[in-house]
């Protein structure tokens, strides 16, 4: 009887050892769920790509309220999932806590830094993507005046603004850039009415292209652009479809690439903890061109953007990062 149990156990062990080469990845989506047409959906697309390529399935959880983040993360860890991906800066505290409790598992956090030996933090060089959309804004503008509407006044958003201004000036040194921040509290992310008013005030001053980095507030900016017959620029995910023909382009943060890379490197054994900063070179940021804005972007504009992109990747154009020294040149 004993022998039978031991044999059975050995069989179980050997089968699990056979599959131990495969990782058991997991992903914790944040509020919004995996079909939110934004950040979470990007991550979903990335991990799905991994699943299709390798046949390795992953565990997933969709957080629906703030208190579930830590719980979900710990559940994944308890079941031995590895690596575990947390989506969005809001999950940083949960990742930090659970990663300390399970030092042998690998974690990754997207869009935030958690400084632990078993955590990979993936951040984006938003200033490089913003530089490109800034160039496009300057080239598309007929008045030589363009605008920027930020959400909450924090260094990250100034980083967007700073990259954008540099891009605008690169394409047209005489251009004027109006910059507005919506507010100084988190309510500034969810006030589309204010976003619309800020955009209208910039349009009234002569701007004809406005880039937003303001979450839900930015939908008001795009709305104002569509209603006034001017152009808006989306952010994070591809927002060109929101008002086809009125959204010049979108500055993309390729969270799908980020999530895919975490799983892939973990599977290949090349996963490394620490900060991964994804820029144009790593295809972590980009600008969006699809059927909704194809008519707005001429071949000449596209050629210039591609040239600038190549120069940034080659290091010939240096885009200043606001967060490096809390200041913006010019």
């Amino acid at each position: 009887m004993f022998r039978a149990i031991i044999v059975a156990a050995a069989v179980v062990l050997s089968t699990s050892a056979a599959s131990a080469a495969d990782i058991k990845p997991a992903v914790v989506f944040d509020m919004g769920g995996k079909f939110d047409k934004s950040f979470n959906e990007g991550v979903f697309n990335g991990v799905e790509k991994f699943r299709k390529e390798t046949g390795i399935t992953y565990r997933e959880f969709e957080v629906t309220n703030a208190s579930q983040r830590e719980q979900a993360m710990r559940n994944m860890a308890r079941r031995g999932s590895d690596p575990i991906v947390g989506v969005g800066f809001a999950q940083a505290p949960a990742v930090e806590k659970v990663a300390k409790e399970y030092p042998d598992l690998r974690f990754a956090i997207i869009d935030m830094v958690v400084d632990l030996p078993n955590v990979q933090s993936i951040v984006f060089k938003e200033h490089e993507g913003s530089f490109l959309v800034g160039m496009l804004a300057a080239m598309a503008s007929e008045t030589g005046k363009v605008g920027f509407v930020g959400g909450m006044d924090i260094p990250l958003i100034r980083k967007f603004a700073c990259g954008y201004v540099q891009g605008v000036k690169h394409a047209n040194p005489d251009a004027t850039v109006y910059q507005n921040m919506t507010g100084t509290t988190p309510a500034a992310w969810n006030d589309p009415g204010k976003g619309k008013e800020l955009a209208r005030s910039q349009f009234d001053r002569g701007a004809d292209v406005i880039y937003h980095a303001a979450g839900g507030t930015g939908l008001g900016v795009l709305q104002a652009a569509a209603e006034s017959g001017k152009l808006g620029i989306g952010v994070d995910s591809n927002q060109n479809h929101i008002h086809p023909g009125s959204v010049l382009t979108s500055m993309l943060k390729r969270v799908d690439v980020a999530a895919y890379n975490v799983f892939k490197t973990a599977n290949e054994g090349t996963w490394k903890p620490g900060i991964q900063s994804l820029g144009l070179k790593e295809s972590g940021v980009d600008w969006a061109l699809d059927e909704n804005n194809a008519k707005l972007v001429s071949d000449d504009m596209k050629a210039k953007l591609d040239a600038a992109k190549a120069e940034i990747i080659a290091g010939k154009i240096k885009v200043h990062d606001y967060m490096a020294d809390s200041s913006c040149p010019g």
Binding site: G33, K37, M181, G183, N190, P192, G193, E197, D204, L219
Partner: protein, 323 residues
């Protein structure tokens, strides 16, 4: 001339920003003049904004959206009434509960129905209240002074903005020229007297909170279906509380309340325009200062200039009938 143009644009923005404040403040006025404190203006607006956007998206009709928004807001108002009027509950606690309920429920239902992180999908133009251009607005736009006033300021707003402006005289008329208004004011000052006269305090107060729900429904619908084109979580962004401040500022009277709302809206519009603009002699004003300006002014004006704001005497006190 350019300064005049800018001034008109600021007034134009003032009207757009003040509209939800006016509607919500008048809503609070009905409720509070009847003796029911309403902290829940914010929640009712939010609930209405969600219901309106959801219904307008599904049916493609702004009118259905408006009806849904008003219905949702009135339901929340009834809930508040049920707790405070029927069960003599604490009115502040019930109001806070309405706010929490609306903030949570709108996002949860939004995720369940539309799966876009608690937002509703963007509404197409046909499903929104779009600006109404008055006859001849384009023709007179070139006329000095009066032209811009007519074409920019008076024409070109959406239906709910005009409703908000009309709601002020309507509220004044109901409150001071109808029997219902007289009784409503009386029940907020001295419910015993109303009861003695053989009029139901409960029924009067229920009607008052329903009026409140109706107006809040308009305010919420304005946010998601008229001014913007989608519901976004927490999109009321504290407007219900600013409306409450305006209500106190205006001493619970319709016309001064409208004045207070327009003042807040004006400061907001100026703040938007002044942000990042170089002023001669002063330079650029910090964003934080401009954003604090409405609150600073409120404190200063409340402290010294408008005098004492006396609330209805029976406000916040449940009416217990003596047997």
């Amino acid at each position: 001339m350019e300064a005049f143009g800018l001034f008109i644009l600021i007034l134009d923005a003032t009207l757009r920003v003040s509209t939800p404040l006016m509607l919500a403040a008048l809503a609070g006025l009905f409720s509070e003049r009847s003796g029911i404190v309403d902290i829940g203006l914010e929640g009712k607006m939010l609930g209405a904004a969600f219901a309106a956007a959801a219904a307008a998206y599904v049916t493609g009709s702004p009118i259905v959206g408006l009806a849904a928004g008003v219905a949702a807001s009135m339901l929340l108002a009834l809930l508040h009434g049920f707790a405070c009027i029927t069960h003599n509950g604490n009115q502040v606690v019930s109001g806070v509960a309405v706010n929490i309920l609306a903030a949570g429920l709108s996002v949860i239902l939004g995720i369940a129905w539309f799966a876009q992180g608690g937002q509703t999908p963007q509404l197409p133009e046909a499903a929104r209240f779009t600006p109404l251009v008055w006859p001849g607005a384009d023709l007179v736009a070139g006329v000095p002074l009066l032209g811009p006033i007519y074409s920019e300021l008076i024409s070109g707003h959406n239906l709910i903005v005009y409703l908000a402006v009309l709601a002020v005289p309507a509220t004044w008329w109901v409150l001071y020229r109808t029997r219902f208004g007289l009784r409503l004011r009386a029940v907020g000052e001295s419910p015993e007297a109303v009861d003695t006269a053989g009029i139901s305090v409960t029924w009067l107060r229920y009607r008052a909170v329903l009026c409140c729900g109706f107006l809040c429904g308009l305010a919420g619908t304005y946010l998601s279906v008229a001014h913007n084109a989608a519901f976004i979580k927490d999109m009321s962004a504290g407007k219900g509380f600013i409306a409450l401040a305006a209500l106190i500022f205006g001493k619970w009277r319709p016309v001064p309340v409208m004045g207070a709302c327009l003042l807040f809206g004006f400061l907001d519009a100026v703040a938007v325009r002044l942000q990042g603009v170089e002023l001669p002699g002063i330079g650029q004003i910090p964003v934080q200062f401009i954003q604090a300006l409405p609150y600073l002014l409120t404190v200063i004006l409340l402290a010294g200039f408008i005098g004492k704001a006396v609330a209805p005497r029976a406000i916040g006190v449940p009416y217990l009938k003596e047997h």
